[in-house]
Symmetry: C2
Subunit: 173 residues, 2 copies
Amino acid sequence: MSSDTRWLSTEESAAWVRLVALTELLPNALDAQLLRDAGLTHFEYGALMALAGAPERTMVMTELASRTNATLPRLSHVARRLEERGLIERSPCRTDRRATNARVTEAGLDLIDQAAPGHVDTVRANVLDLLTEEQIGQLYQIAGAVLAKLDPEERLAATSCQFSEGPAVARAG
Amino acid sequence: MSSDTRWLSTEESAAWVRLVALTELLPNALDAQLLRDAGLTHFEYGALMALAGAPERTMVMTELASRTNATLPRLSHVARRLEERGLIERSPCRTDRRATNARVTEAGLDLIDQAAPGHVDTVRANVLDLLTEEQIGQLYQIAGAVLAKLDPEERLAATSCQFSEGPAVARAG
DNA sequence: CCGCATTGGTTGACGCTACAACTGATTGCC
DNA sequence: GGCAATCAGTTGTAGCGTCAACCAATGCGG
């Protein structure tokens, strides 16, 4: 117990307290809006978006779990509920009979298309529109530095949300 | 549905995706360390710290709930568990017989004193030490701008964590 | 001082997530 | 080929948070 802890300076402490407050409040705000307007949690929304952006609108469960930072049991439960609602379908994978493919249905695509505008509005209203262009760049850098530690393989980086214009994905057969 | 949604630019989207990833991963990291080393969730730690920093090491439940961004039922459940573990005590308030005072016990103070160094290490290792001094200032500003929207009354601002040196609080009777 | 809305707090039921245990398929190794 | 280890996924259980219902105390208007 060599008590050589480097305690936080005033500036560090102030920034940390605010970051903690942000990580507590922001997820609630996102969930509240999506739940109210589309009956989806932010996690479910992210999962559907990830599938929508994938080739064939399909992903193996393990891959999807990794991209959405979910444990496999969690994703399995969520997938069951989404399937019961007709938003995704699950089918056995042809090449690896252990694996399960999850695919967004048309209804799922419709739902996220319908939910996207409200969600983007929320993101703007609560975060992006409150920051200058410069601050958005700073945020990118700061979060990037932290994620290099927390998510070194960049599992979450490539994912979650396309916010491009138009429908979430081309509905090619 | 005038489809006049302002979609996100590439820069905005990139920053947003990273912020979301951060808000998903950071709480897990904090909980994991505290749970492993002290058997406390980050929320419980924050509540104990808030009490430790209060006059008489005591707060009314409602006040504590507000400061820790908890609903009253949530805090009530948590308080019951903390009380069962001997980390806090609850007693009726003298001036308002509806109210309940929560107070950290000596054992509670001991626990957070013991947990603090490891927690600060985690905060440094996962966030602060990965940023430049300048970035810490930027983070303070950015989070501040967002919190002005999400927490306009600054309920969480004044709270949660003192990371000053030495024991969490003077143990004056 | 009485009636009623409001506030402080607790409790119980339900939903979601983590964890452990398990099945079935696959890979590696001899 | 066969056995062990690993991997993909599901299921059950327990813990935590939310919501609704509830009780007790307060305060306010008449």
